[in-house]
Amino acid sequence: MSDKPSITPSSESHQWSDLHHQIQDWLAGYADGELDEHHITLVEAHLAGCEACRHDAERQRMLSERLQEIPAPRLSPAFAKRLDDTLASVQTSDRRPVGQKPLEGLKHWLTRLSPSAVIGGGGWAVAMVLAAMLLVPSLTPEDPNQMAVASQIPMVNDVLADYQRVVGNDLRTPSDDADLSPPMQWANGRVLARWTTRVGGEPAEAYAVRLGNSLIVQYQISERVFFRNPDVRQAVARAGDFRTRDNELEVIGLPMRASGLLVVAPSGNVPPIDKSAMSAS
C-alpha cells in the first residue's frame, strides 16, 4: 500500500471502491478540519453513502478529542536540576564558537596535535592520517557527535558487556610465558590477566590492569571496528580521543597504529591517558 496518497483524485472514472480506499486516508484531515473545500465536498459525498467511513471519521474525531484531554507529563524537579547541571557542564567544557563547522575542528585538531605525533613516534602520525581520511566522507551536520550515547555503538556495548562479565567472575591467574604488557602502561598498574574476546564482530585482545582499587580493562581492537562509527571518527578528529560513559563506567577510545584501544574504567577513576607513553603496536 502506498504511503503517499495523491491528494487529487482524477475523475468520475474512478471506481467507487478506489475512491472509498482513497478517502480512508483523508478521514483524519476531514475530522481535523485540514482539508480544502474541494476535498471536503468529495469526502462528504462519500460519507453520505458509506456508513463504515462515516463511523471511522467520527472515531477519528472522538479519539483526537480524548487524546487531547490527557494532561502533559510533568518534569520532576530533581530531573530538571540534573538536566540543568548536565547542560551547564557541557556548555562550559565545550565552548566552541557557534557556527564553527566540523571540518574546521578537524584542521584545528591536526595542527594542534602534530607535535605530539613527533613525540609519540610514527604510529600516531599514521593514526591521524587514517582518522582524517576516514573522517572526511562522513562529515555531515547530522553526524558530528562528541556526546555519543554509549549504547549506540556496538563496540562500546561489547567492551562494557565483557567488562561486566570479568567483574562478575574471578580472573584466571596469568601463565608465566604469556606476554602481559598492555598497550597502555601506568606506573602503579599491575596487569592481572590477558584474554581474547570479540568486539564489533572481530577478535580483540583484552588486558585487565589493577590500578589502586580500580579494575581497568584495555581492549585492543581492529582499526576497522574502531573507526566504524561516525561519532567515534568525529570525536577523535575533534579531541584526539573518544569518550563516553554508561552508568558507572567510562570508555575512552584511542586510535593506535593499525588498531584502536578502548579503555574501560569505573567513572571518576580513569587513569591519566598519556598518549605519548603508549606503545605503538
Partner: protein
Amino acid sequence: MVNKSTDSKRAHKMRSTGSKQQFDTLVRPWRYRLYGVAQRQSASTEIAEDYTQETLLRAWRDFGQLDDQVAIYAWLLRILNRVVADGYRRDNRRRQLAPVLTTEDAVLSEHPCAAPGPFEQALKHQTDAQVMAAVRDLPDNFRQVVLLRDFEDLSYQDIAQILDLAPGTVMSRLSRGRRLLAERLIKVASDNPAASDNTHTRVTPHE
C-alpha cells in the same frame, strides 16, 4: 503551535552574537514540552529523561547549525525524533510491520463498541494510562504523527516539516494510525470490561 516568525527573528538576533546565553534563552524553555513528548513514547520515566537529556545535548552540539527558517520547537522535535528512533533501534523495536486497516475491518465494522456512541463511552471509561499504553504500542510511523497532532496540536504542515514528510503522507499516516489505535482500544475495552470501573475489581459481563 510553533511560532515561526517570532522564534526565527529571535534566533537570528540572538545567534549573531553567539553564546551559551542564546541557547538558554531559546532552547531551555522548551525542555518541559520536549519531556512531555519523550515521556509519551517511553516505557519508563528514566528512558524519557534520557531522551530529553540527549536531545538537549545534541541541540547544544548543533546549535550553531540551526537554520534561521526553522522554528526552535520544530527543530528540537526533529532532534528528539532522531533520539527516540535511535532508542527504538537499540531496543530492536523499530520497523514493526504497520498494519493498514480499512474502515470495513471486522473489529471496526462489527464490534458493538465500534459504533460512534459506544466507542465514545469506551474511550471515556479507559484510563489515561491505558490509552497512553496503546499509543506507545503503535508502530513508529503512526505513533509519531499521532503524538505531534493530538498531543502537541501541531498543524499537518509543521508535522510534515518535523518528520520530513509530504503533508499528504502526514494525513494518511494519521488516518491509519488513529484507525489502528481505535481498533486496539476497542479490543482492550472488550477484553477488560471492568478496567474502567474503579469501585469493582471484577465485573461479569452480561451475555
